[in-house]
């Protein structure tokens, strides 16, 4: 826990200062999670604010401060899902094709220096993983991201999704298999391209 239980209890009782402390403590983590879940840096702040607004209005529904973190994760996942659904409704281009402004800027700026090379490599990794994760449903992508990227345990995921561990394992296994197949195909394609190039 990044904050003491009594701060959560004070925030539940309506203490604005305690709520501010929670936001300050979890802001960076929520920003990171939202950023990985939605993949658009320019919208991260809005979604993170939405998470904290939902937190503010539903704190009184929290049964005990011990379950605060998984509960906050659930709010985060739900806010990210709602954002992705809205974005899909707006018929924006796919996440893979749609490189965010920041990514484009990074790609444009990458030329020469070590830092820029690193940034270019990071952008390449992001693009590759985003394209692999695009092969599974939005829900499975979020689940995989929480498990494989955020590093949440099955127990934590169980609390977030309120489904039993076995159901989660099956879902995760299938999603991971799909991503693995896509990755193998990608590697195969790159190998073919390489051999064609050599010829």
């Amino acid at each position: 826990m990044l904050v003491e239980f009594d701060i959560v209890e004070r925030a539940q009782a309506g203490d604005a200062q305690a709520f501010n402390e929670i936001v300050q403590a979890y802001r960076r983590r929520i920003f990171g999670t939202v950023s990985r879940l939605i993949g658009r840096p320019e919208d991260v702040e809005d979604v993170a604010q939405e998470v904290f607004i939902r937190l503010y209005y539903s704190l009184d529904q929290l049964r005990s401060p011990e379950v605060f973190e998984p509960w906050l994760y659930r709010l985060t996942v739900n806010a990210a899902l709602d954002y992705l659904r809205k974005r899909r409704k707006r018929k924006l281009e796919s996440r893979v094709a749609d490189l965010s402004e920041q990514q484009v800027m990074m790609a444009d700026a990458a030329a020469g220096s070590k830092v820029q090379v690193d940034e270019k490599e990071k952008a390449r990794i992001r693009e590759l993983v985003d394209s692999l994760l695009a092969g599974v449903s939005e829900e499975d992508r979020l689940l995989l991201t929480l498990k494989e990227v955020e590093g949440l345990s099955l127990k934590e995921l169980e609390k977030i999704y309120r489904v039993n561990e076995n159901a989660l394992k099956v879902r995760l296994f299938r999603a991971r298999q799909r991503v693995l197949r896509a990755y193998a195909a990608r590697l195969g394609g790159e190998a073919r391209k390489g051999s064609d190039h050599e010829r």
């Binding site: 936001v23 802001r27 920003f31 950023s35 990985r36 607004i53 990227v149 590093g151």
Partner: protein, 117 residues
């Protein structure tokens, strides 16, 4: 499970780890907290208005219920008036309107039946 498959799995794990590092969380703007509170307060204003509307509706619904119950009771009392037959009701009304002495006089003045019939 083939060695190739295991290598592929390990490779994917490494890639996902690198992805985590590559996705750095963007920094929040300096006005993050003021904007958050402004959004909370604007939502609060809206929910308060909604709450007032809901309260008003609840009061109106309760008043309508009371009115309906009163109307229902009133119509039930009216229905008691019609529990007898038409003749019984007419008799009761006539008895109430005409004093017993008058009624006796009326009976006495009534023409005798025609003996021929």
């Amino acid at each position: 499970m083939s060695a190739e498959y295991r290598d592929l799995e390990k490779d994917l794990d490494r890639l996902l780890e690198a992805y985590r590092e590559a996705c750095e969380a963007p920094e929040a703007r300096p006005d993050f907290m003021p904007r958050l509170w402004a959004r909370i307060e604007s939502t609060q204003g809206w929910t308060e208005r909604l709450w007032k509307w809901a309260n008003g509706l609840a009061v109106a619904a309760a008043a309508a219920s009371v009115l309906l119950v009163a109307l229902q009771l009133g119509s039930r009392q009216q229905a008691d008036f019609y529990t007898g037959t038409y003749v019984e009701t007419l008799m009761a009304q006539t008895e109430a309107e005409i004093a017993p002495a008058e009624l006796a006089g009326l009976v006495a003045e009534a023409p005798a039946e025609h003996p021929g019939r």
